[in-house]
Symmetry: D2
Subunit: 346 residues, 4 copies
């Protein structure tokens, strides 16, 4: 039985790790870390866990935690994990970091976009970018996994087969993404009140969102070319779900059928990526509560562009689900253990 | 492995049975019945099931069905199941009827409130009212279970301990209930369009809703007195969830603590009924996607009334979850098999 | 041209006064008071007012304000207005207080339910309860109007004709009310975040909500008997709207037609109270953005109870609209000036 | 007093014309046309109009209608208006067509994208494209106005200043648009049920939506170059509102300030187009219920692209409001008569 600790267990992503691990055969949570609710029953913070989680929230003492668990999930603000990691820590536990601290290989890029001094740049090289479908073998051997961002996961998996095939101009990509409000976190802000979000949609972080360099880095690795993108996220009045609509110029004339073969090839062995039938657009309602990413494309012969679409649950495949998928890989378990739940609809 | 057939698998409740049984260790679905989508892939109707359910929808030929399965769920409009049941059917399969056909013991009451001629009154006596917490032992031996209505389940479990104890005036009960829109079904009606339901709340079926006699019958059985209630359901702009707020006059002076003991006593062995801490009101968000009913009470000394509250997911404990709970009891399986999923929040 | 000042103009109710007065022929806003946004452009706080309101938010200096305006709206937390009012103030301006400070005639009841010491009990007697349909003549002469609470307005108008007629047992009334989330204000609280409110419904303030004594006082005045009620508000995932479902025992046998006559009689001259056709239930979607209250009843012969229903926009008739209606009366203007906008649907 | 008739008054756009004209000083509705609700009281179809509209729905007999009114709004499916228009009609009334029949000058393009045979191509030349900000003078003299589509209005006004200035590559434009569900109409379809739309977002009509040629034609006219675009609409779980996020490559190096000047110049005299402050993104909540379009841009120096954003209410500026704005121009009234209502928030 794998013993898990969660730093930041009282955020939305942290709570989703709890939900998933409660259904995991081979893992149990031994440490519910929380800065805000220390000494309070976890089920008082998330009443859905009443009678399911009897535990009391603890602090974020990583030293103590390392002696009690095998794996630590850090579902915390940017900059915290990088200050906590050390050789002593990594010798005792595996770390799955849901923050951005170890996702970007170029430390200057990280520090520039995040406005932070990196706390332990010496581990960036070692850290594995935990996009399971791409880095499966490396993840299996990793001590430190950088769990991908929600927008990067959905964006990358929507574009990857064409980027890899060299069929799209890597400087023409435009990613227009839409996210449910749980992505904004559980902090008490006027902008995230029900009446402010409901019955509205807006773009935010236009031309400056921090997930931009992460997406560019991964697309560059996949294509072998320097990707330069426009990425625009939007806030949608729904709890969960990310939809990506991405556009790119094709580098040569193709047919939709040729493009489809590349997706089928790329994802034919992947349980959690569903390449939809021709003409069926991804919708977030069909993946809610599950670890699936639904992907499809549409070729536009008028403009010789391709529209690439992906839908997933931002809290599952975009955070907690992928973190557990990573844990499964790191501990030699079936990759889908704890993650077999079908999407919940409606 | 229990083989299950679902008549009406393409409604919301039918699809929820599918979702739950996909995670059930000891059951598999062999027949996806649907009047509207016959010969169409099930996953085309519910895209969340893509790659999970490869089956094609079949019709409602109960004779054929009975030879292929061990249990049949009928998630169909009122009046259908009662015309399908026969001795020949009941000798071969167990029936769990999600419609109202066998819930009410008095056939005249059924025919009066539903405006239908009952198709097989000879089986009403045999049918067991499938409220597992109350009729567990009878369900274990039943061939035909009448799965309770969503409002009755939530209403009854909120009131039961006080009704049983004789502490409330059974003619003073007022049940004000609120339901998410999945309770209205998947039929294409203007009244259920997004723009008609969103940003609004209304009462419906005032003083005439068909669940009224079902609730009265069960409360009468529990209390040994004739219950006569006002029941008013409301439509709420959300997908899932039922909240019941019930009021009753106390028959003598009590304290809240005395009342609480009765609930604790009634539900201490029940996994799926959570009697909340004092002062914590049930909220539908905390039970979504799960088989839990959250219950609590508040005593009002000013009026000597008690306010009894219950929250549950109308599609799970209010329909598909309870149906599977019944199936588990009927086949000698652990009562919670397939039903251990924690509530999904947010 | 009436000059108006608003203390608390950056809350939801304050902003709604702004919206309404922008369409008012005979009034203009001269003072946008705000504790939180002082010196900030009003249209930066509420971007809908961009290019419509060029003003900068000012503080809450009532002395200065009194010299610049003819009427002051206080859309502030309980307890503030009563500390600001004085003879010097009332000699210069009329006050319409949207808080609860002057609604309840019995100061001990106020202090008990609100947990506050009243700041100027000497004005309670003079203050007129600003329910225009009931106290029209008194309001015309008032210097200080206590604008009714949202729940009390909708509850009272739903019940009033039967209370006045002595046809219902004033100790049997149960009011189950449902409100959109704007009623909870614009404060940054976790409980009011989008993801916490969306897809959920809950009761709150059960047996203890502060609007209870206000409703009881008004119903007692209307009926000439001591009203003792249960009042339970609920939070609904929508922006605006209040729905009241009220229940009472009839004191004698009646027909629905007899009851309907009383409502028709009571409201036949009232522009803003719409008594609906028989069988049509009030729905909040049909009053949104307007000053209407839609009312209807259903007699239940089984229980000899009446179900009284009302729907209105909590920010309009429940706050800002009624406040402007009061202003119109106080200044001898047409009662509906600025309030003729039809409901906005969908 | 202008007498107006509405063909298709019981759709969402038709009803919005009613709402707006009820507040219009110089117009009154004399004919509520409806195919589905003929002979039924209008206020039974839209209960918000109870006591405001006493009229009964009539049919679509344009001959009869022409003798009773001065202007006819056709808020009907594509293809109807073009079969109704004739010289006899145009001699008697002015027509404002909310369908697409007369928007596109090239009849082959219309017939190709709409899959219809045009019913009266001889009037296409005469018809004026009713985008008031662009064609104001022509509209004043028109007999037949083609009211623009919702997406084209918002898209065009977001892009127009840069298209006109020749600063963007007209073959690089990508328009990613998001609409509330009222845009899908009031037809009873499963896909538009509350539970199907709520908690989800999807693209539709990818690379094939009918508004594409309309946008291209207008952008081509504005720029003097052939525009070739990708246009992708999305369905958002909200009632009203359209948000456009458009991307284009700049044809030379610029600064954001230079781009801003072009917008300020283009819209400085326009009451209904609000060019927002730098850094403030348009959000649909700030325009709801009003005739405003909020526009802003963001220059991305990394990619040398500009992101152009626009938000408006699809039923007002995107349909009924613009139709009334056109009527005002055609009849020599103040352009904003009946359209001065501020946005409703929240």
């Amino acid at each position: 039985m794998i013993k898990a600790g969660i730093i930041g267990s009282t955020g939305y992503a942290g709570q989703e790790i709890v939900r998933i691990l409660l259904g995991h055969k081979d893992a149990e949570i031994k440490w519910y870390g929380s800065r805000s609710y220390i000494d309070k029953p976890y089920a008082d913070v998330f009443q859905n866990m009443f009678k399911l989680v009897p535990d009391i929230c603890k602090g974020e003492d990583l030293e103590a935690l390392c002696n009690e668990v095998d794996v630590v999930f850090t579902a915390t603000p940017q900059g915290l994990c990088s200050t906590l990691v050390s050789e002593s820590v990594l010798e005792r536990v595996k770390i799955i970091d849901l923050s951005a601290d170890f996702r970007i290989k170029d430390v200057a890029t990280y520090e520039d976009w995040y406005g932070l001094k990196h706390g332990s740049p010496q581990y960036i090289e070692e850290a594995v970018y935990g996009l399971c479908e791409i880095n499966r073998e490396k993840i299996k051997k990793a001590r430190l996994v950088a769990n991908p961002g929600c927008y990067p996961t959905c964006s990358f998996l929507s574009i990857y087969p064409l980027a890899r095939a060299g069929l799209i101009d890597m400087r023409s990509i435009i990613i227009d993404a839409k996210s449910g409000t749980s992505g904004a976190g559980r902090g008490a802000k006027v902008a995230n009140l029900f009446c402010e979000v409901n019955e509205s949609i807006k773009a935010y972080g236009v031309a400056g969102h921090r997930h931009t360099p992460e997406i560019e880095e991964q697309l560059s690795l996949a294509s072998g070319q320097k990707a330069l993108i426009n990425f625009t996220p939007h806030l949608v009045p729904m709890n969960r779900g990310i939809l990506v609509t991405a556009y790119a110029n094709l580098t040569k004339e193709v047919t939709e059928a040729e493009l489809r073969v590349l997706y089928e090839e790329a994802y034919k062995e992947e349980q959690f990526v569903r390449f939809l039938k021709e003409g069926v657009n991804p919708e977030t309602r069909w993946v809610e509560g599950s670890n699936y990413v639904d992907v499809n494309i549409k070729y536009d012969s008028r403009t010789n562009r391709v529209v690439m679409m992906g839908a997933m649950d931002n809290l599952v495949k975009g955070a907690a689900g992928q973190a557990v998928q990573n844990m499964n890989l790191m501990f030699g378990l079936p990759e889908n253990e704890g993650l077999r739940m079908p999407p919940v609809f409606p």
